[in-house]
């Protein structure tokens, strides 16, 4: 009888812990048509294009709070341009993400950039954990474009990004 009570207690504690943890869900968070810009004049070598994005967790689920987020990974990063020369002036791209109270994380790279393309998919990091960034009010996306030669004008590209957000219900 004593043993049964002990077993029952263990089962109850395990059940309580399971309920407290809640179930986890995964959803995709999209950043569409973000305009990343660097002000000219720009010089040969890596130049920084950036944009700020306000995090809206209601996009994932209404009422979702930052402390419910348990993990964030990047799953897709696409850069496009309407410029007639495409990306012919760019050797490579490196994408990073940061926020006021979170570390900068390198999240995607494309090296080299193929000539003649107007849309490119970057190779995304399989390890970068972005939870700390997504629990902030806004994030800064930083795209380093390694420019071939100098450029007088501004440089501007469009970015579409997909993140997989894991959260507790």
């Amino acid at each position: 009888m004593t043993l049964n009570m002990k077993n029952l207690s263990v089962v109850c504690i395990a059940l309580m812990l399971f309920c407290a943890c809640g179930t986890e869900s995964k959803k995709t968070y999209l950043i569409k048509d973000a305009v990343l810009t660097a002000e000219g004049p720009l010089f040969d070598g890596p130049n920084t294009l950036q944009t700020t994005h306000r995090i809206d967790l209601s996009f994932i689920e209404p009422g979702l709070s930052p402390d419910q987020i348990t993990g964030v990974k990047i799953t897709k990063a696409t850069i496009s341009t309407d410029d007639s020369v495409g990306f012919d002036q760019i050797r490579n791209f490196v994408l990073q993400l940061t926020a006021a109270d979170a570390k900068m994380e390198k999240i995607a790279v494309l090296n080299p950039v193929q000539k003649g393309l107007k849309t490119v998919d970057l190779s995304v990091s399989s390890e970068g954990e972005l939870k700390d960034n997504f629990t902030q009010k806004e994030i800064i996306l930083i795209l380093d474009g390694d420019l071939i030669g100098d450029k007088e004008d501004n440089l501007s590209y469009k970015g579409n990004f997909e993140f997989e957000i894991t959260y507790k219900k």
């Binding site: 070598g45 890596p46 920084t48 950036q50 050797r91 490579n92 490196v94 990073q96 940061t98 926020a99 006021a100 570390k103 900068m104 390198k106 790279v109 090296n111 190779s123 995304v124 990091s125 399989s126 390890e127 970068g128 800064i140 930083i142 380093d144 390694d146």
Partner: protein
């Protein structure tokens, strides 16, 4: 009237603090002379990226050097030229920037780091593991004046 004076005083303090913090901006050279690092401000934090390498190409391949020692295998094609080796520094007053990290591309390790400006053209860059006492300081010199 009192509110306006207080607001002006706070604005002045903010501007002076911001100017002191931005003294870090510019191009700097580590003591080994192998690279030059440009420190920029993104948001309210400071970052340093490699803008020049004494030996830009890998002697084995003849191609630009890559971050081949990065622990994240998916990022080993990132070129070293343009690499942000100093990250996330915040100005803490007294010519010091803290809470940042420094990356050593020669072994793929990241260390905690504190930057101290000893004069307007000299930085003490201290990288460490765990506690500050267990670290190494390198002296960097400014290459250009201004931002």
């Amino acid at each position: 009237m009192k509110t306006i004076i207080i607001s002006c005083a706070l604005w002045l303090v903010h501007m002076v603090g911001s100017a002191q913090a931005d003294q870090l901006l510019g191009v700097w050279e580590p003591s080994n002379g192998k690279a030059r690092v440009k420190i920029e401000k993104i948001g309210e934090k400071y970052y340093g990226k490699i803008v020049w390498l004494k030996e830009p190409n890998d002697p084995k391949t003849g191609q630009p050097k890559l971050d081949k020692n990065n622990p994240d295998a998916s990022l080993r094609s990132v070129p070293l030229k343009g690499y942000r080796m100093l990250k996330d520094f915040k100005f803490s007053g007294n010519n010091q920037w803290e809470n940042g990290t420094i990356y050593d591309p020669e072994n793929g390790s990241t260390y905690k780091c504190i930057i101290k400006m000893t004069d307007s053209n000299t930085l003490d860059i201290r990288g460490y593991i765990g506690v500050e006492a267990l670290g190494r300081t390198d002296v960097w010199k400014r290459l250009k004046t201004g931002k």
